[in-house]
Symmetry: D2
């Protein structure tokens, strides 16, 4: 039997050694909850990263990060415009409905699971401004998108201007934000654009159990901290959470890991040619493959999810062996 | 300056080495969320521990565990009877209101933060059975209680009978369940009594970020799993959560740790005599101390919380050095 | 200026004289809330009407009736399949999100705003049965539909069988249930089919401020009554609410009114020919009309809503003067 | 058998004839919901009454009015300080938990079911300003109180100053506001004091199904209107609701009715002497009566509720016959 080569998802990859070290280094007494020195360092560290004052807290999952962020902008009687294939709509078990107390997700279409102002306008312009219809309060986008597509700075600027004009908040789900930054090549600030809140992903990028929620309006931190506690997400021993996030930022480990994942994806993409359903801009590949082709790849040990009847999704991770990527590239080329 | 000797709380203590080992041992690829082999082992492991079939899931905090448990028994229009000093009422930031969609906490008085059927009846008997008044749906108790008192098996049996008679669910907040079991000397099942759900605490007992929620009606597991996801508590890399819980059970580490904490508390209690506000049955001491006495203890390096104007709370942990316990006992005796 | 002839909606029509009489007749002391003799008569009266035991309560709006009904079948973490143009999705201000504590509406397409089992299956079959995706708990249909289409008994039977097979509740929004019954010509039971709950509309049919919520499983009445109170919908002087509903049933006034409205609609429909977008089965007409044609009709005093760019909606009511209906028919014919 | 003389409550009294007239006068076509001329007149009419600009909407119950008002001031993670015997705590079926999405009621004690700044401070000063404890966002008081006691203008001024100092909203439940104004003898503005929102009661004062919610910050009207719709409280035929409220204000009918009820209560109070548990300032009497005395009164046809083991509550209404009041006064005097 061939060795298994996992391309199922980056969400179950092992933990980067420097995070283990950081957690072990945190294993001495300190204040509970987020009163420790590590948790206290997050605001400054993320303010440096983004070049503007922000507040940042650790949180165990991207789902919770997205929802707590949206709670700063969306009233229970309002709505959030997102892509119809957005994670918050499709894969978070209704968490936005819970955290936002029944607010509505308003589904837009857009190429590559990205949204433009026009895509959003197509959804909200027909809404009558009366009490019978739920009004939008915010926009949520994903960087990189659910199809691994990165928003360019000018696209983000356009979305920010649109959001401002319409009085809407702008949230960015950054479960794979690092991969987008690695692809775009600019700064973290460039890839975040004018968003109000950012769920800064670490877990898919070599982390264990901590994401960061970044609030570009630090005045929102108080509300978010009360809501985090209320959601049972304020862990007693927060220093182990903060340690993960800080280690990820230290020496730009987050970018290093993302570059590795992206490189592996690019390696494979090179062999896929016309099979690619979407340009590969991060660490996900959506590849047209017949059932027989998929069977053949699986017989060679490659693990991946089907994507509908005639395609497959491959995801690389920070620790995807170059050998695995090359092998997959070769195997696809050989089909 | 004297060395600091921490008795603030067990909630910030360091992690037991065997949990670190277990987490590291889990650091190889496996399925995400709770699809891994470790998470899958929890049901059986807890069924063995309690001698009856149950379902068990990991969850990051006791707050979330308590709330998810209560969600199996309490409708949004119902209520939960708990002690007026219960953690869910006083220290969980309104989490029950969030998770139970506005259900009401109904506050009872009871000696030592414990409740008897009579205490509960005093609260619910005056409630008119009409729609104008919120009706109770469940009872929540804490083992050991917020004052470190343990429910005896016959007390639990009485509560179970009362709950059954009144058609109420019975939940046990077991943040310090291990300490209660260690004190009572019987089995885990004895200390859980006929409760329907148990938040089995690990974090205050040497864990890092995982508690276990035990459902004695396994049929409730499905609902709880949907609600856990919806609350953003289904972590991607659940195997590191499960590893902590399993390591805690392995070789009865949970009891070993609790016995150590209890022993340290008993050591100190012996020196407190009439100063004790409550019998010491777990790892918490509530000690009458004047402001001057507290100042004197702090000057000697002891860290603890004031408990009102004329008392202090001391909490021991799994790793409280015997030397610290002896020193505190001596210092109190010397006052 | 021509006399105004209103075809905007049936929802603002005046009150039928027999309802005024009934309310005045109720104007003597009785017990508050729903403890009065009139409220107490609803269960029996509706059980007679539907030929099976049911419970019935008054409620001020169809929005609240729909939501309270759905609350008997849908958990906060679940979903409700409804037509994408259903009133609960489009025109109830997010009320289902509020009453169902964040449950999700799952939008299906279907001809004439009606749904078939296949339409529903198209939405729910792709849902993975895992915690990451919201699972359906109920189906909501509208009789007559938002386009004035009536479900036939065999269609309802098929939906009921499908709902049962999938373990889903089945709710019927009957804001214009009377019009459907009048059209179908059968019994109320035929038009309700095997639905579990029915929001039995009165207000659009000559009522003032009371609908009836009918529960075909009377055991659900307790939950609904607690939820009605909790929603601030339990009026002190319920006898004036019950009086309206009972007067509507008395001597089949509800059918008499609906027949009058349907007859007026049929009169107009006869003149519309190919202009009709949907067969006219109740009291609503959706008519293709150019902007110029609409302008011409408005200049003649006809009031109605535009329906997109090239059509208009006309609604008749229990008290639409025959003269108005004939005039509109003539005017359309003259275009 | 003696004629029944009802003193159970004012909440089931018949409707004042002028409200019937007003509703009948509204029985001609107008715009639906609150788009009609009568609904549109409420803002101006209440602005005149209170001598400052305010917004006002009709709403079917005091429960909904209270909750919608509180929703303008209280976040889901916050709390509302109210008297432990306040209607929102005791008799509204948990509606605040529903409308405020799980916010907490914080119960204060106070003489006569009234609250002073000191009463409130006793509840909120011990709350630690950290995320583990729910923070107060608003205060809710009742004018007249649940024991029929009226807040004097200087008491309201003190509460307003306290609320402002603490950053809390101030809501007034005015189910019997008219009775308080009638007792105090000043203006409506005097009796409302500096409260931010007022549930202006009509139903207990001769109304049928409409209260008014008055917002002294008109900017809050938009939020309240969205929430009213979302709660299923936006009735189609709002003109019949508005007509009731306007008729109540017309010619100060609200005061006339309240004076009649108060006068009847005062008549009875004169005979009660030392039996009175509370001074009678509105239309409720709490009277010490032994079981035997209560039996005797009931045998004479008087209807009323027991108030604990040794007292009874009598409530007069706008239409309590003078003869009934005199008879009750005589009967009590004869005991």
């Amino acid at each position: 039997m061939p060795r298994q080569r996992p391309f199922l998802s980056d969400n179950a990859a092992t933990i980067h050694p420097r995070l283990w070290e950081a957690m072990r280094a945190a294993d001495s007494p300190d204040s509970p909850y987020d009163g420790d020195r590590l948790s206290a360092a997050l605001d400054e560290r993320f303010s440096e990263l983004f070049g503007r004052e922000c507040a940042a807290i650790w949180i165990a999952t991207g789902t919770a990060a997205n929802c707590l962020a949206l709670a700063t902008m969306v009233q229970p009687h309002g709505g959030v415009v997102c892509h119809e294939e957005a994670h918050i709509e499709v894969d978070e078990g209704g968490a936005p409905g819970f955290y936002l107390h029944g607010a509505k997700l308003m589904l837009a279409s857009g190429e590559g699971a990205k949204l433009t102002p026009a895509d959003i306008a197509a959804v909200i312009d027909p809404i009558r401004p009366d009490v019978h219809q739920v009004q939008p309060h915010a926009i949520a986008i994903t960087q990189a998108s659910e199809y691994g597509r990165a928003y360019r700075p000018h696209e983000l600027a356009a979305l920010g201007a649109f959001a401002k004009e319409r009085g809407l908040g702008l949230h960015m789900d950054g479960a794979r934000f690092a991969n987008a930054v690695a692809f775009l090549g600019g700064s973290a600030a460039d890839a975040a654009g004018p968003c109000d809140t950012l769920a800064f992903g670490c877990i898919k990028n070599g982390g264990m159990s901590a994401e960061a929620l970044v609030l570009f309006d630090p005045a929102q931190a108080e509300l978010v901290k009360y809501r985090r506690k209320r959601a049972g997400h304020l862990q007693c021993k927060g220093r182990y959470q903060a340690a993960q996030v800080l280690a990820m930022l230290e020496g730009d480990l987050w970018l290093e890991n993302a570059r590795a994942a992206n490189a592996a994806a690019a390696e494979i993409a090179g062999a896929c040619g016309e099979r690619l359903m979407h340009p590969v801009e991060a660490n996900e590949l959506f590849v047209r493959l017949t059932p027989g082709e998929r069977e053949s790849l699986r017989a060679q040990g490659f693990e991946f999810y089907d994507w509908g009847a005639d395609a497959a999704r491959f995801v690389t991770a920070w620790n995807t062996p170059q050998d695995d990527a090359l092998a997959l590239a070769q195997a696809v080329a050989n089909l």
